[in-house]
């Protein structure tokens, strides 16, 4: 029983952390229409930034500043934000598929730098020896994980409330208008380039926050954590849940993470021994099929974006948008 609860705590922690990342991507893609193909670069910048700033001094790589944990986490978010700002300045004039290709390239470059700039990043060994906050009080066991989960859920709630308020605000309206038709928005006095950059950086900071929490949870980050598959997983979560719908994005995170871990378990348990060697590859294929299938048959996701309308006395009444393209 304890084993199951313990596993559920573990599962919920990781799903919630990934959920934060999905919320960041939803701001970029769901609300603003920015096709960020390099989610993992922001995630990695947050993780590496947090662990380098908050970890103990270690030889072999940069870092070991031993900062107070919240400052380290903020530093990780800042690192993700600065990276996004630079990438955004360079690429935001690109549209859709071109932006996706450029940002995907940035993420691959990021992984390669992490892997090869050994003196800064620890190379393939990654950043080790990070001491998780409050470990001396809570120990390393179940209590720690439960408290950590509570912390993650609080962060998730804050991000969720922040984004929900943003969605119904005039700023959210502006983001959607830019997503729908930039030329028309510009003809109505709006400056799309500036707004796109703000959205891209903010979304990346949120993804960086998720990365920071992820690194903290495992007290370790290495180039293996910033592989392109993570970008695809996070995209699958958003597409399945419903781009443009904050709750849908969260639901997608739990569903896809559940399906991912379940498929891994099921394959290792029931698949023929020869096939088990390829468990990871089979999972890659499965997640690809989920993305393609959703885009073909239910592109609006399980929880479609809701139309913001105004009816007497209820200015936040929402109904479902039909005919999603």
């Amino acid at each position: 029983m304890i084993g199951i609860i313990s596993y559920l705590v573990f599962f919920t922690t990781v799903a919630s952390i990934l959920g934060i990342a999905v919320l960041g991507l939803n701001l970029q893609w769901g609300n603003t229409g920015l096709f960020n193909g390099g989610v993992v670069a922001s995630f990695g910048a947050g993780a590496y930034g947090t662990l380098m700033l908050g970890g103990p001094a270690q030889d072999g790589h940069l870092g070991g500043f031993g900062l107070f944990y919240p400052l380290a986490l903020l530093g990780g978010m800042l690192a993700a934000g600065v990276l996004a700002w630079i990438v955004g300045k360079l690429t935001l004039r690109l549209r859709h598929d071109y932006l996706a290709i450029a940002t995907f390239g940035v993420a691959v470059a990021f992984e390669n730098v992490m892997r090869n700039a050994t003196s800064i990043t620890g190379g393939a060994q990654g950043i080790r020896g990070f001491e998780r906050p409050l470990r001396d009080v809570l120990g390393d066991g179940f209590t720690y994980n439960a408290v950590f989960l509570a912390g993650v859920l609080v962060v998730l709630l804050l991000v969720y409330v922040f984004l929900e308020r943003l969605t119904v605000s005039p700023f959210g309206r502006l983001l959607r208008a830019i997503r729908e038709d930039e030329t028309a928005a510009r003809s109505l006095g709006k400056s799309p380039d500036r707004i796109r950059l703000i959205s891209f950086v903010t979304g990346s900071v949120i993804i960086g926050l998720a990365g920071g929490l992820y690194g903290t949870f495992y007290a370790f980050v290495s180039p293996q954590d910033v592989l392109p598959i993570l970008t695809f997983q996070i995209w699958a979560m958003l597409i399945v849940g419903g781009a443009g719908n904050t709750r849908g994005a969260l639901a997608g995170a739990f569903l896809i993470w559940g399906a991912w871990t379940f498929s891994g378990w099921a394959l290792s348990r029931f698949a023929p021994v020869e096939a088990q060697l390829y468990t990871g590859s089979i999972q890659f294929v499965l997640i690809g099929m989920v993305i393609v299938g959703m885009l073909l048959w239910r592109p609006q996701g399980l929880f479609p974006e809701r139309l913001i309308v105004s009816q007497p006395g209820r200015n936040r009444e929402k109904t479902q948008v039909e005919g999603f393209t």
Binding site: L166, S169, A177, E180, T183, A185, S191, V309
Partner: protein, 257 residues
């Protein structure tokens, strides 16, 4: 002319070797409904895009209210009071008609990231004022009943009205309409004309590209005609109907073609 709202001085726009707009000089009087006619490919829409800032001129200058706006972006020109609609409507499809209209006002406090999340009371008051105004504009343009529809779902004619509604929210002084009657059913066209004339009586200036000659001759004065990138006629609608150049260049085809 002393009450010029818009003056073009030798404006040209080339695409490679092709001169879409070739040395156009003209003046739009404040308070007029000026019609811009010409065959397909005459350069009318290119000229519109140069005036609105979507394209930069390759020569000449655009003066709006006495200021050279040639180097300003479309959003900066909108802020100065220069609004435009598009030949093919560009609604924000997955947003409600009401949201489409509420987007347009300038200087919304809630349009910044921090303002959106932190500034509560002030934004709510401003939103209420904008919503009230949006409903007035939707009422005026007979769109109130579709306020809660996704903009992609309304008819083509309603989309034309919606574009005008959005522009009106910015309270511009000059409104460029690109083929407002094209593909719009006669009933809606009548409403559109009525509203344009009412707005005009209240001080708005219009520059209208239109192929429907009946529309132009009845409602626009003066009339400007373009052909092959150049202005070939400028005069009153009465003069236009008897002008030999126009008859030859454009009206050679039957009047209602």
């Amino acid at each position: 002319m002393d009450n010029a709202i818009l003056t073009l001085n030798g404006v040209s726009r080339s695409f490679g070797d092709f001169k879409a707009v070739d040395d156009v000089s003209l003046t739009i009087r404040e308070g007029s409904i000026t019609g811009l006619i010409g065959p397909n490919g005459a350069g009318k829409s290119t000229l519109f895009n140069v005036i609105a800032g979507e394209l930069s001129p390759t020569g000449g200058s655009v003066d709006f209210l006495g200021t050279n706006v040639s180097r300003l972006t479309p959003d900066e020109r909108f802020a100065l009071g220069l609004g435009r609609t598009f030949q093919i409507p560009r609604p924000f499809g997955r947003m409600s008609v009401l949201e489409n209209v509420m987007l347009a006002p300038m200087d919304q406090a809630g349009e910044t990231l921090l303002g959106a999340v932190l500034g509560k009371g002030r934004i709510r008051d401003q939103e209420e004022a904008i919503r009230k105004r949006a409903f007035e504009v939707l009422d005026f343009l007979t769109l109130r009943h579709v306020a809660d529809q996704p903009a992609a779902k309304i008819s083509g004619g309603q989309m034309k009205l919606l574009e005008l509604a959005r522009v009106l929210m910015g309270d511009p002084r000059l409104i460029l309409l690109d083929e407002p009657a094209a593909g719009v059913n006669p009933a809606l066209t009548e409403i559109l004309i009525e509203k344009i004339e009412e707005l005009n009586r209240n001080g708005k200036t219009f520059l209208i590209i239109e192929h429907d000659m009946d529309f132009v001759m009845r409602h626009c004065d003066p009339v400007i005609a373009m052909a092959e990138g150049q202005v070939v006629f400028e005069g009153t609608s009465v003069e236009a109907q008897s002008n030999p150049i126009l008859l030859d260049a454009y009206l050679g085809a039957p009047l209602d073609a």
